[in-house]
Symmetry: C2
Subunit: 294 residues, 2 copies
Amino acid sequence: MIGVDWGTSSFRAFRLTPGGIVRDRRAAPRGILAIEGGHFAEELLRQTGDWIADGETRILLAGMIGSRQGWQEAPYLACPAGAPEIAAALVPVPFDGADVLLVPGLTHTDADGTPEVMRGEETQLVGVLAEIGAEGIACLPGSHSKWARIEAGRIESFSTYLSGEAFAALRGHTILGRMMKDGPTDPAAFDRGLARAENPGHLLHHLFGVRTLGLFGKLAETESASYLSGLLIGHEVRAALPPGGGAVHLIGSAPLCALYARAVEASGAVAFIHDEDAAARGLARIGKDAPWSI
Amino acid sequence: MIGVDWGTSSFRAFRLTPGGIVRDRRAAPRGILAIEGGHFAEELLRQTGDWIADGETRILLAGMIGSRQGWQEAPYLACPAGAPEIAAALVPVPFDGADVLLVPGLTHTDADGTPEVMRGEETQLVGVLAEIGAEGIACLPGSHSKWARIEAGRIESFSTYLSGEAFAALRGHTILGRMMKDGPTDPAAFDRGLARAENPGHLLHHLFGVRTLGLFGKLAETESASYLSGLLIGHEVRAALPPGGGAVHLIGSAPLCALYARAVEASGAVAFIHDEDAAARGLARIGKDAPWSI
């Protein structure tokens, strides 16, 4: 089968064996925002036509392609959900020459009635469920970081943290950014931000410290962005980690997962880093239970 | 005497009686960023020359005019400080025809060594010390909200919250702002944000709820900015209020103080709103102890 992780800004396709091994892969900056006039079928054929010509008849699409802004809306499925529940809620879209199914996103409602959503991350989570086992905590860091609780081998609930997008907005559009120079992450400054996040003060108060430490010559312009990153990730991890710590399964880009692992371990928990092919494994796993017509 | 609150973007001058009554006043959008070439003396003469010609010989300047970007730096004075300590640290600047003194800002250091600074707010605080009495809590809401603890009639310590600037950055430069329409504050939506802030979740998590409530039709585009404002102000007030509540003295613009009062009272404390002339009263009080040479 063919599995595609089709997000807002990128398109990643995997040609998978029945056992879920990646036989071939390709990626293009052809996210749904780059596709004009709703020509998703044409784009899919352009990207994977040779695999279809070579005999593939089953295509599973996950990510924002199943949103209102994508090819067709695959309504959010309520938690708890694992591969069988997700497979039972796949949405077919018309396509010549192959069976195309859309993976639904997941939703969950907080105790006080505030909804949560994910779209694309559920497939990555399914891809690591076998490694997590019956119970565990998984985190997908990013602009909108997702923290999921796994129970009985299913995604039981999850929470989103706006840390990545808040970092970009604070850095780019507040006085804090005026004292920052671009550069690679400075691990010592990142750790100082983490340590500050352990302080009982509120994030809105800690943020001002980025400026005053700079004003008083205690934080260099080359350290300031790393400190802010440590502060935000430290706050997120401290708030999202359940009491008692335990293990956190991190899924995503290697550099970002490395920073989160540092924060998780500073909080006394253990971090396991999974690679970005979790999406391919999740597509294969959902595809196994899917109601293919061909 | 003449008292001036000379900030980054505005210039407010008061002609004061020896008892501290405002005899006359004027304001202009002539903050220090608007003064080119360091011509502060010329600007001061342009704004208050008629009062000087009429016999005023003492001029006290508070605010960013005493910063490195202003006329001359008046180094930060360490807390605790009241009117006598501030008056003893005034910095003279050369000016023909009158005695001109700069009010220093204040600094304070957190338990973990992070510095705090204020410049201008110390004068407003001195202006309400008589009304607060020996002990109390005061808050000056704004881009960088200041919360000060008053002990023995002096400013004992203070903390800054970046709430106002974070609101502007989140609204203007994240996905949250895409679902917001301009308009007056919606009190019910603001209260919903306050109520959400009472929830034990972290601000970085609560922020994502602004988006999902919108996606699920539970928050209108005309309500969304007010909800975000309630969320941020609620988080700030909950974090800054000492345990046990008590009374909070609010100093600043009337509409912003009204929102903070709503948040303070939702947290079980009592709010007192002081007017913006606190700066004039503070200038008069510091001027009383100042080492004038004329």
